[in-house]
């Protein structure tokens, strides 16, 4: 037997953009992303405030079944 662990990290932002004539879902989303990125560029550094997450959407471990000395 083996075990695998994979993780997906999700962060959500609460932003509001005003729609203009001709906007589509795509253009509204693009403006919301720009707004978030702009906020982050202008924010003060904070040790507890991690702004960019690495890509954790990968398998951390794919090890074979582990046997300790106690198992042997």
């Amino acid at each position: 037997m083996a075990v695998e662990v994979s993780v997906r990290v999700t962060r959500t932002w609460d932003v509001k953009v005003e729609a203009e004539y001709g906007d589509t879902d795509e253009t509204l989303c693009a403006r919301a992303i720009e707004l978030v990125e702009s906020r982050e560029e202008n924010s003060e550094p904070d040790a507890q405030d991690v702004r960019v997450l690495p890509d954790y959407s990968k398998i951390i471990d794919q090890s074979e079944f582990y046997e300790s000395e106690e198992d042997k």
């Binding site: 075990v3 695998e4 662990v5 997906r8 999700t10 962060r11 951390i60 582990y66 198992d71």
Partner: protein, 130 residues
């Protein structure tokens, strides 16, 4: 590295033969932790697991599935209630710490994932019977 604990192995065996009490609970609970202790195959301490530092968010009921005939999958999402550095995940069978028949099936320690309040991690924990 992720390991299956000795208790987890015993739980697997008991489940196959419907031995009480552990056979009466599904292995569908996920918890995360902030400790740095290496995984250990013995997790008999009660109420908390011996080398696992559970975070304050508590345990969540996960979704079980069989995506392939030999894969036992458990997927659960936990939301941070404060800034955390998550380093551990475990699969267990009780939502209450120290609950009756509590068993940790498996345990993984990994590089810390820094979270802000409201951030979420969705864990996919697979046990492969190969």
């Amino acid at each position: 590295m992720a390991i299956i604990t000795n208790e987890g192995k015993a739980w697997d065996v008991q489940k196959l033969q419907n031995v009480a009490p552990n056979s009466n609970a599904l292995m569908n609970v996920i918890t995360w932790g902030t400790g740095s202790q290496a995984e250990a195959t013995v997790q008999t301490a009660s109420p908390a697991f011996g080398s696992f530092t559970e975070s304050a968010e508590g345990r969540v009921t996960a979704t079980l599935s069989i995506p392939a005939s030999q894969t036992d999958r458990c997927v659960g999402t936990i939301t941070a209630t404060a800034a955390r550095n998550i380093t551990q995940v475990a699969r267990t069978n009780t939502t209450t710490v120290g609950g009756a028949g509590q068993v940790m099936l498996f345990y993984a320690l990994f590089t810390a994932i820094p979270l802000q309040t409201g951030d979420q991690i969705t864990f996919t924990l697979d046990q492969l019977v190969t």
